[in-house]
């Protein structure tokens, strides 16, 4: 058991860069900020690779099961003797895998934005926020205590707010950043209450202890947690589903997905990092981290499955109609995350049924690479064309050869064509779905077809359709933009062959998986058909797509308008919360509560005026009052004092 304390360095390096660039960025590191950021990231990537090698190959396995090693633990804030928030680092298959994913993708984004963000005057702050984000994401992965997860969860939300709102002078960017933070914040509320429930009933906040206590069916905590119920569902279901809502908010699942498309306002490398590989995946990671507890409670698992499946299907449908390439990619991310969620949802703990768990994490692993590649490619295209809309792009394959090839590889990977990474992970998910739940399998299949359709629709309309009308174009950007594309393209191809199943499984034991080709004919066949339809529609400039769209009529319009979900949210906030709750309360405060105080003041003034009337200066009144007084006193004394 070699000492793993050097892992503490991995999150601390980005934090260090954040502090350095944040405080001194503007003055000293005006231009060199990029190199510092990328250098520190490079160091932490190397460290994480070393840690992965050491953990997976050297001493992670103990009689066949991967151990959870707590490298470092320190009580940060103790509420009561056994319930306390303590900061620590946990090394186990999922966290190491995520370490690799986050650090490498973040490195690629850092290198890419060297070229992409060259001209920006707040260059240093951009890198500061980027390293803050990486730090909080790494912290989230390595956390030992649920509250520690919550802490880094909030930090991730805040840094994504800062990054999305980077072009702060654009009001739309500010609104998008606000919306992102508020929606995720709303989900975090569910997460917080989930933690409180688990913490209170489980008696501790430490994840390891919680899993240990809540999975042993005869443990005291488990029994009183399942018996105590509120509005029908047991406390366990409440806790877990609330935590899932927290995760769903961050991973933009169905009800809370509205912030993801708007988050495209931020710079493209940011969306590549945040909305492709890291932040949106945090929800999946959270469910995976607490999976043993989730598996004890079938109802919350079914919630996960159905929300995942529905958002996968829902996003795929909308993606087919979007014209802004970044919005298309955003919805495709949402759909892929939906895949991962329902893969987790349908899986059980233990050997064979744990396939879903392994498949979803494998998909997470591969998806991170090719989705960030797609985003970076889109970034390069936008950098060239200076607009997001598909219409004014086309025929760029000659102008941007490398981006074109990389983009093609990524599209093939995401569509799930055999040699590429996407195929392997999607196959695993489809097999797992096939074994456990036929309905989900059908939906998954159809969404897979839709995915390949909209991906290739995007590909053809960018690189093929009409000849590019661009007069001046300044090449494909420096090597700093091309290099990450190439590396990621390579990963998108190779990563599929990584024997994922014998590293990460639901119970730590290696799992033998085999790709049976017969089973995979159906999905691959469907994807090929979808690709050919897309090619037919979009390869050459023709009006069939608009004709086709007209046929669908209202369905097309609805999908284009994102099924009016945004408008629904806006309606709720603008029409209901502000005028019907905010206004009356503000009014009530000014008039009723304040009014009451002023009323007090006024009444005292009025009373004092009345009393003044008595001093009317008329002698006779005084004598009358005088006599009245005598009379009362005498009656009083005589009758009471007898």
């Amino acid at each position: 058991m070699s000492n793993y304390s050097y892992i503490l360095l991995i999150p601390l390096l980005p934090l260090l860069t954040f502090l350095v660039l944040g405080i001194f960025g503007r003055k000293y590191f005006k231009t060199t900020a990029g190199f510092i950021g990328s250098a520190s990231l490079l160091a932490s990537t190397v460290l994480s690779f070393i840690a992965a090698k050491q953990y997976f190959f050297v001493d992670g396995k103990l009689n066949g099961v991967y151990q959870k090693i707590i490298a470092f633990k320190y009580t940060w804030l103790s509420f009561s003797p056994n319930v306390s928030i303590d900061m620590g680092i946990i090394i186990d298959p999922i966290s190491v895998m995520m370490l690799i994913v986050v650090t490498s993708v973040s490195l690629m984004v850092h290198v890419f934005s060297l070229g992409y963000m060259k001209g920006e005057e707040r260059f240093a702050t951009y890198y500061a926020f980027l390293s803050l984000f990486t730090f909080s994401m790494l912290g989230l992965i390595l956390s030992v205590n649920i509250f520690q997860v919550y802490i880094f969860w909030e930090l991730v939300g805040a840094s994504s707010f800062l990054l999305i709102g980077y072009y702060f002078s654009k009001p739309s960017a500010v609104a998008a950043a606000k919306k992102a933070f508020i929606v995720t914040r709303f989900a975090d509320l569910g997460f917080l209450i989930g933690i409180l429930i688990l913490g209170f009933y489980g008696g501790t906040l430490d994840i390891g202890l919680l899993i240990e206590r809540l999975t042993a069916t005869q443990s005291a905590e488990f029994i009183n947690m399942t018996t105590a119920s509120f509005l029908g569902a047991s406390m366990l279901t409440w806790g877990l589903s609330l935590i899932f809502i927290g995760g769903a908010g961050k991973s933009a699942m169905f009800p809370l997905h509205i912030w993801l498309p708007d988050a495209m306002e931020g710079p493209t490398p940011v969306s590549a990092l945040i909305h492709a590989a890291t932040m949106v995946v945090a929800g999946v990671y959270l469910v995976a981290r607490l999976f043993p507890i989730f598996s004890m409670d079938p109802s919350s698992l079914s919630l996960v499955t159905y929300i995942g499946a529905f958002s996968a299907f829902f996003a795929a449908v909308i993606a087919c109609t979007q014209t802004d390439i970044k919005r298309v990619l955003a919805y495709s991310t949402m759909s892929q995350i939906g895949y991962m969620m329902f893969a987790l949802g349908i899986s059980k703990l233990g050997g064979e049924e744990g396939l879903g768990y392994m498949a979803s994490l494998f998909h997470l692993f591969t998806h991170a690479f090719f989705k960030s590649l797609l985003f970076l490619g889109a970034g390069a295209v936008i950098h060239m064309v200076h607009s997001n809309e598909m219409k004014d792009m086309g025929g760029l394959r000659k102008l941007m050869p490398i981006t074109h090839i990389a983009f093609l590889i990524a599209c093939l990977a995401i569509a799930g064509i055999p040699p590429f990474a996407g195929f392997f992970s999607k196959e695993e998910i489809l097999t797992a779905a096939f074994h456990s739940n036929k309905l989900i399998y059908g939906v998954a299949l159809f969404t897979a077809a839709l995915t390949s359709f909209y991906m290739f629709r995007l590909y053809f309309s960018i690189f093929w359709s009409k000849e590019s009308t661009l007069q001046h174009h300044h090449g494909e950007g420096t090597w700093s933009m091309k290099l990450p594309l190439l590396i990621l393209a390579a990963c998108a191809v190779l990563v599929g062959f990584v024997p994922f199943s014998n590293f990460i499984t639901s119970d730590g034991k290696a799992l033998e998986t085999h790709i049976d080709l017969i089973f995979s004919i159906a999905p691959v066949g469907l994807t090929l058909i979808a690709i050919s339809i897309a090619a037919y529609l979009y390869k050459k400039e023709n009006d069939t797509p608009s004709k086709l769209a007209a046929q669908f009529g209202i369905l097309y319009q609805a999908a284009f308008k994102k099924f009016y979900v945004d408008e629904l949210y806006l309606f709720i906030t603008k029409k209901i919360i502000f005028p019907f709750i905010g206004q009356p309360i503000a009014w009530a405060d000014k008039n009723i509560v304040d009014g009451f105080m002023l009323l007090l003041g006024k009444t005292t003034a009025k009373i004092s005026f009345k009393i003044k009337g008595i001093q009317s200066g008329k002698v006779q009144n005084y004598t009358l009052y005088f006599f009245g007084g005598i009379l009362i006193l005498s009656i009083l004394f005589i009758y009471t004092w007898k």
Binding site: K612, G613, Q615, S616, G617, K618, V619, Q620, T623, L624, F627
Partner: protein, 98 residues
Amino acid sequence: MPILIVSTALFFIGMFGLFTRRNMITMLMAIELMLNSVNINFVAFNKYLFPDKLNGLFFTLFIIAIAAAEAAVAIAIIINLYRSHTSIDVEDASEMKF
């Protein structure tokens, strides 16, 4: 015993006068009435209850003396008031209002 009733009646007549009269002089008269009723009481008590001592009588004597002094001072004030207010109606002299 009936004397007390007479004196109380006189007292309350004087008081009634004091309340209703708007003219200061008539108020003065009312006060005189009240003082007289008090004197009657003193004399009656002294005569019927404590004949051996003469306290009651002395009291009455002193009251009469004081009443005289008081009437004199009151009239001086009234005259002065009359000069400044040209009317001795009690309503007008209400500068001491709020």
